[in-house]
Symmetry: C2
């Protein structure tokens, strides 16, 4: 079968291994790289190797970090008695962007999902339980508001109660700037339930 | 604004520069690389640099090659009087797969497209005209069967006629294994026009 010259077919093959990149996209990306300035390709290749080799998971909160413990875990300005539990490092960024949260984090790197065969030992749950046994006043479970996220939150809450740690969950309600008309029934009934005096 | 640690945010930034890769996909790819075995990331990075540095365009046909002239241009088994003109290196692979063609190629690296500001000097047309002045019996124009491809074919045919070189175009008709019912009107009328005695 005729193929591209070896360095090109190998590049297409390696690119095809990336998630969500099919053979057509891999070919398109490969030819883009062939026609890009050499410096640009080298910069991307180095960024990949750098990111892979210079970062690690924080041994305390499992967020992505260069130094261990991470900047947040080692900061003197953070409230060390509050832990916000999230699914992925991107969620830490999202919450940090609010500028409202001053506690620590715990990144699970996933959610419980029996359908996908992901149980308590496949995510950083044991490590969370260990942290909850240190003096902690509140665990905010900020997993996604979907089936797996809720199930994971319930699982954490159950363990937290056995060791007398207060657990909270982010409020459900209407998105700010949203349109009441377009809110789904479940969100709307949760917004009603959680209504506040004004 | 809170961001990922520098090596990660730089990787996301570099990945976002690739065509068709938005910030969300770049983030997804970056985190995939962070959790992949180090070897795999290095292998992809090396494949990128190798493909970029070890390949070039053949100085005769402008196909992607490691050696110059390329394997096809320097082969003694190919008919050197026939040139098949294609838009991109991927088209060479497609025609080679048929196993039916024994001539040489010429890769334009694009098509004429006034709408996108691509004129004759932006693709390898001058180089094709130079090759047509050598002893050539036939130029097969295998650009894509769309507006730009047809316009480019017409442009090449016009030049070829002034220097008395025979030009042909790939046949239009029904795709083999296709369904007559689903063929568009233009393809169907071309298939009728090009009908053959059986």
């Amino acid at each position: 079968m005729p193929k591209y010259v070896e360095p090109v077919s190998r590049l297409i093959e390696e690119l095809s291994k990336l998630p969500g990149i099919g053979p057509k996209t891999a070919q398109r990306l490969a030819f883009h790289m062939l026609s890009s300035p050499r410096d640009e390709v080298v910069r991307l290749a180095e960024a990949m190797i750098d990111a892979r080799t210079k970062t690690r998971q924080c041994s305390v909160c499992f967020n992505i970090t260069v130094d261990d413990p991470c900047e947040i875990c080692s900061s003197a300005d953070r409230d060390r008695t509050t832990i916000c539990v999230v699914e992925y490092p991107r969620d830490v960024i999202a919450i940090e962007r609010t500028g409202e949260y001053k506690g620590l984090y715990h990144v699970l790197h996933g959610v419980l999902s029996p359908m996908d065969g992901i149980g308590p030992n496949d995510i950083k749950l044991r490590e969370l339980v260990a942290r909850m046994k240190e003096p902690v006043s509140e665990v905010i479970v900020a997993t996604d508001p979907n089936v797996e996220g809720e199930a994971t939150a319930m699982y954490i809450a159950r363990i937290a109660h056995t060791i007398n740690v207060r657990t909270t969950r982010l409020a459900h309600g209407l998105p700010v700037g949203g349109d009441l008309e377009y809110a789904d029934e479940v969100t709307l009934s949760r917004a009603l339930e959680g209504r506040k005096e004004i």
